[in-house]
Amino acid sequence: MPTLIRLEGGRAVIAARDPFAEAPLDGPLPDGPAVLMPLARFQQQGPALLDEGLRIGVLLQPEEAVEDLAYDLPRLSMVALNLPKFRDGRAYSTAALLRQRYAFKGEVRAVGEVLREQAHLLARVGVDAFVFADGTTPEQLEAKLSLYRHVYQAASDARPPAWAERRS
């Protein structure tokens, strides 16, 4: 069972258990109160399942457009972004759009080849849950996230950009 680390109130915390059971593209749904499913399956069954009260997370591949989810986002509990390679930067734009354009309030989870050295950037674009591929601990994640004392840009987090800090 891979470790899920969530950012909660500025702290990195290991989730005691992950409520989301992963559903494949087709076949029977796993039991449980929450399901993580691929976009294609969500587009077929998702709205009906949401109506039944199931909590749903959608797994987006890097080439999949977040725009396709826009209508249903307010009812989704979680969006998982797959990074098949850590060098594939598309998830960063997807996360930024989720938070900045669609004001998505649920969990944005990074899965795949998620490594510590990219964590601070992922957090800035709006990722608040990590399934690390390199065994990064909550302490190591917190250290990485606090490494830069200032930032130059506004992003999905609340950090003031340098120009705003200079005003104060």
Partner: protein, 559 residues
């Protein structure tokens, strides 16, 4: 020039600390080479043929004496006492040890220098006009906007893992000194008929395997929206640029496949949906940055300098230097002095630590503490009183850098090539040296006139060969170095219009030993064919390839 405040210093210091930890994790084996490589690249560190190479950013090509002295110190302490200035206004040190890199970056950070995003699939060091703030025809100081871009692009959370590298240039004069059309984004600052400041936005330029000139997607972007519009371009590219094939991953391929019009439409849609206020700098921050680029405290001087005129009359070498390398300044009684790092026999763009120190002293004493770097791998003292030019020339002559060859045949752009570079197929530097030797006679060089020879040791085109009047590309033929010549390229423009074009292939590749004589033959054909006042590229445009082909291949024998 812009001086770092505590925030800027902290960001660079934190980056140094981050990279120090990453190097330690790599040396201990905690990070694999595959995981570490993008991290070291985005800190300017390549593994080349003989050692690591560190590429240090010179943002918009602007240095002061403290920075140049520090570069000299670093070259002396951790390298072999010299560095190589590049076509993208960086300095490369070729003999770096990985384990020293964190200490080097700490030392650079003390004077506000760094190697952040000088490589990797990131927004690279941004280039601008080396004559900024010194020439009369600029509509605004481009450095204000370049510095805004520098800050915005540094450690950008969304755009640090792009499909491929991303280069931006900003120019503010009708006369283009940045090669703006060969950039991923080229920004041309101009005023519209109402006098409002805005940017002409070009996208999709680039050299390399698929050379393409940038195309305009926006004629006049209101200047205050620069950052949000660039962010919109980057977001479209980050999402839709190809990631399956490294050779098709640059933005130019996306622009080509969509068409500039459709690409521009997508950018406009993205930009309109964006929260501009979150991205664009507010007026007070722009004013703060602008304040850093105020004019130096020029003295009131007569337009004509008796000392300058007397030196020209007395010394033909100085007169030639004044004619070739000294450029009119917007301030009466001042000039820009170009220092060509192109002494025949030396390595184009190379500068020894001693030379760096000497130039830094000249800048401090004679040029309001400023030095600029040009994309032709030369330096400029941008604000020298005409009265002081003879003294500057005398000192440059002492350090071997007074060659009066700016824009002439021996002012050659050359990448490091196979003498250093792990990507190269062939050497570039010795070819440049052989050609420069044939045009070392200043009389001959001046008679030939403006001739921009550009040499790349591989298809990646760091030497900009596609836009050379004579371009030379090294290729590998069965393990041996061969060279393709192209003619008629140009990356230039002025008030009369943009003249950028890609060169045409002359004919079959030539072996190493025949390149310099072939260039000489091409120049000979030009001198026979030219009409009065025509530059090489003008004659080429009029007569075409044929006379040059005949000159190079007529007596060709099977190699």
């Amino acid at each position: 020039m812009y001086r770092y405040d505590q925030i800027d210093r902290d960001i660079v210091a934190d980056r140094c600390a981050e990279f120090r930890a990453q190097v330690a994790r790599r040396l201990s084996g905690e990070l694999s080479e595959d995981q570490f490589k993008p991290l070291r690249l985005m800190n300017g560190l390549y593994l080349q043929l003989h050692a690591y190479m560190l590429r240090i950013a010179i943002p918009y090509g602007s240095l002061n004496s403290a920075k140049l002295h520090r570069l000299a110190h670093v070259a002396r302490t951790w390298d072999r006492g010299y560095g190589h200035f590049t076509t993208r206004t960086n300095l490369q040190l070729h003999w770096i040890r990985l384990k020293d890199a964190p200490d080097i970056l700490d030392s650079l950070a003390e004077v506000g220098l760094h190697a952040i995003q000088t490589s990797g699939n990131t927004i690279r060091n941004i280039t601008s006009d080396p004559y900024a703030g010194a020439v009369a025809d600029e509509v605004d100081d481009p450095r204000v906007w370049t510095e805004a871009l520098r800050q915005w692009s540094t450690v950008h959370p969304e755009f640090s893992y792009l499909p491929r590298k991303f280069k931006i240039a900003v120019t503010a004069s009708a006369r283009d000194r940045t090669a703006v059309r060969v950039y991923d984004i080229g920004l041309k600052l101009r005023r519209n008929r109402d006098g409002a400041l805005g940017f002409g936005v070009l996208v999709g330029g680039g050299l390399g395997r698929t050379p393409i000139l940038g195309q305009t997607i926006r004629e006049h972007l209101p200047a205050q929206h620069l950052l949000s519009y660039v962010a919109a371009i980057l977001r479209v590219y980050n999402r839709h640029g190809r990631r399956d094939n490294i050779h098709k991953a640059r933005i130019k391929v996306l622009v080509q496949s969509l068409g500039a019009e459709e690409f521009g439409r997508q950018v406009e849609a993205e930009w309109r949906a964006m929260d501009h206020a979150a991205v664009d700098l507010p007026d007070d921050e722009l004013a703060r940055i602008r304040g850093a680029f105020g004019a130096p405290a020029f003295e009131a001087r007569p337009a004509r300098s008796a000392a300058f005129e007397a030196a020209k009359a007395a010394d033909p070498a100085f007169a030639r230097f004044a004619r070739r390398n000294v450029v009119a300044h917007k301030q009466a009684g001042y000039a820009l002095v170009n220092i060509a790092l192109k002494t025949p026999g030396e390595v184009p763009g190379d500068c020894s630590a001693d030379q760096m120190d000497a130039i830094a002293e000249l800048a401090a004493r004679f040029s309001f503490d400023e030095v600029r770097l040009t994309y032709a791998q030369n330096l400029v003292l941008p604000h020298v009183a005409l009265d002081d030019v003879p003294a500057v020339h005398a000192r440059l002559a002492e350090i071997g850098l007074a060659t009066p060859n700016l824009d002439l045949a021996s002012d050659i752009i050359a990448c490091p090539g196979l003498d250093y570079c792990a990507l190269a197929n062939a050497r570039a530097i010795p070819i440049a040296q052989q050609i420069a030797a044939r045009f070392a006679d200043p009389e001959l060089a001046e008679d030939v006139g403006e001739l921009k020879i550009k040499i790349s040791g591989c298809i990646n085109a760091c030497g900009h060969h596609h836009v050379g009047h004579i371009g030379i590309l090294g290729v590998d033929k069965r393990g041996e170095e061969f060279y393709q010549l192209t003619l008629g390229g140009e990356a230039d423009g002025d008030a009369a219009g943009d003249r950028s074009r890609l060169g045409d292939l002359l004919g079959p590749a030539l072996p190493y030993a025949r390149v310099a004589e072939a260039v000489e033959a091409v120049v000979g054909a030009y001198r026979r064919a030219r009409a009065p006042g025509e530059r090489f590229v003008d004659t080429y445009a009029r007569v075409g390839l044929q006379p040059f082909k005949e000159a190079v291949y007529a007596d060709a024998h099977p190699a």
